[in-house]
């Protein structure tokens, strides 16, 4: 520990974890750092490239974006696209945006409401069927709507719920539930049981313990679950494609595909809408950057 201390100070960001320090145990020569920075810059450019193309396209006019001699950079900045795009004739984009928001928000709320008690109880209590339940959770975490779409389609036709937001809220909630249970379970399990027991000795009921004592401690896990669920619902495509047939009910992911293969696609509007749809979820993911992996593979990567 003491040996590594001087080198530690050269790291720009105070990354404190001992594991992260190991590549900087010796003074890294400037040339090496430069090579790393160049490599990092290339990675950065590659990963933002499609979204930069998207952004540049979104401020071009239709004539410019469909020009036979296109320019890499926009020559004029047509910000009015961001207002005009909502009234394009291909699909009711305002309704599509509202659909996306409503389905994602309510599916996320439903997941929280259902997953939290299950995660808490399975982390705290031993009961017959607990392992069966957790196994069920693991298996459903691996299933995605795409492979079950034909079953879902028939089921919601029979229930008279085809082409409704409610159907998509249930589908999104059900397929993201397992993940939320799993991540919250691991957070609840991390709280020492003595904390609960002390509260119970003081006369607190199970629900009081859950909401007053545990919730503040597992807050990071809940945020992770909320973000993952919300982003997954926001981008869901396969089930929405089949369940929602009315243009106004469809989320943006499905609505935008209608532009492809048209005689004169309004690409500038497609990209404007894409930018608007992508920014919020990217910010959400960046907020939980540190827990992204622990989230998706909860418990399996040590």
């Amino acid at each position: 520990m003491a040996v590594t201390a001087p080198a530690f100070e050269t790291i720009p960001a105070p990354a404190t974890s001992a594991r992260k320090r190991r590549y900087t145990e010796d003074q890294v020569p400037f040339g090496k750092v430069l090579v790393r920075m160049v490599a990092g810059l290339i990675v950065l450019l590659v990963f933002i490239l499609p979204y930069v193309i998207m952004f540049f396209g979104s401020v071009k006019t239709k004539a410019q974006i469909r020009s036979v001699d296109p320019t890499y950079f926009p020559t004029e900045w047509h910000w009015e696209n961001y207002i005009n795009m909502w009234s394009t004739p291909e699909t009711p984009l305002v309704q599509n945006l509202i659909s996306t928001i409503i389905i994602s928000v309510f599916a996320t709320l439903l997941v929280l409401l259902v997953a939290m008690p299950a995660a808490y109880y399975t982390a705290r209590m031993q009961f017959p069927g607990r392992m069966v339940f957790l196994f069920l959770v693991i298996v459903t975490q691996m299933l995605q709507p795409a492979v079950l779409t034909s079953g879902l389609f028939r089921q919601f036709v029979t229930l008279g719920m085809i082409d409704t937001w409610a159907a998509m809220i249930f589908i999104n909630a059900a397929f993201n539930l397992s993940f939320a249970v799993w991540i919250m379970h691991s957070f609840f399990a991390g709280i020492p049981k003595e904390v609960d027991e002390a509260a119970q000795i003081d006369g607190a009921g199970r629900l009081t313990v859950l909401f007053r004592i545990n919730l503040p401690l597992v807050w990071p896990g809940i945020v992770t679950a909320i973000v993952f669920t919300f982003v997954a619902c926001w981008n869901e495509f396969a089930a929405s494609l089949v369940i929602l047939s009315t243009a106004g009910n469809q989320p943006l992911s499905v609505a935008l595909t209608k532009f492809v293969g048209q005689y004169e696609t309004s690409w500038h509007y497609v990209f404007g809408v894409s930018i608007v749809a992508i920014i919020p979820v990217v910010i959400l993911f960046m907020i939980i950057e540190k827990r992204l992996v622990g989230g998706l593979t909860a418990g399996s990567v040590k």
Partner: protein, 327 residues
Amino acid sequence: MSTTTDASSIPEAGAAERRPRSGGPAGTDAAKPRKGGRELLASLPWIGPALILIFGVVLFPAVVMFYNSTRDISISGLDKGSVGFDNYIEVFTFPYFWPIFGRTIVWVVVVVAATVVISLGLAQILNKAFPGRRIVRLAVIIPWAASVVMTTMVVYYGLEPYFGIINKFLVDVGLIATPEGYGWTRNPETAFAWSIVVAVFVSLPFTTYTILAGLATVPGDVLEAAKMDGAGPVRTYFNVVLPQLRGALSVAVLINIINVFNSLPILKVMTGSIPGYDADTIMTMIFKYIQNQHKVDVASALSVVAFLIVIVIVAVYVKVVKPMKEV
């Protein structure tokens, strides 16, 4: 409502939980069956809603799908009775089925293999300390969070003849002779190849982050020991670091296999407007049966085939990764 039952079951449940962890399950077996029913009942208010959602919207549709795969369902959705395995026969005797099956394997193997190899390199870069690393790491997240449909659409536009920006770039650097382009998105083979590129691109963030988490578990003193023994960076990587990544890699590979196998939007956008079945995988074929041909019964039969493949992958996942071991 449930406070009274809870209050009575807390001490017993608490006691029951402590024993299996320290002493092993053998000792508690005798006491369990008597209280089992009551404990299960007490758990229902907590796990019941989750069970309803899992059974109602995940497992029951699977049953519906299996059932429908043996029925004759008209275009209007009317169930006209059982047809035995006729739908399966239609799936397997479809002249394009085996090419589609083979293409699905190519799709999964190529995308996952390329993703893992590139991610190993990316993780090495992102694991080194350099100014601005955090910004690079954040940029890598973008394709993970962004809608796959939208990411694919920008590539599709880029490949368009004349006005596509990727096409223009390829002309400018001399890889293509004319701005008319190669018809990237018009030919099934090239559209499929570009779909693979997009699929790799959107799979990189998750894979890279998983490998980064794995790299964080490589003990520093082991690396130092390898260095002292005179191992160069290449040898250290293959003999010391890579074996340590086994766990992270198996998670990444299996989750990627499932995601790529289930992937619909990339191929739907890139190859959806090409007539015929020369760029389809099992997943896009299911949706062609549902949407274009309105054959939910045949779609169900093919979905059952896909479902069984997924179940096998999940079984491998549970066996290899052992996600239950920490419960």
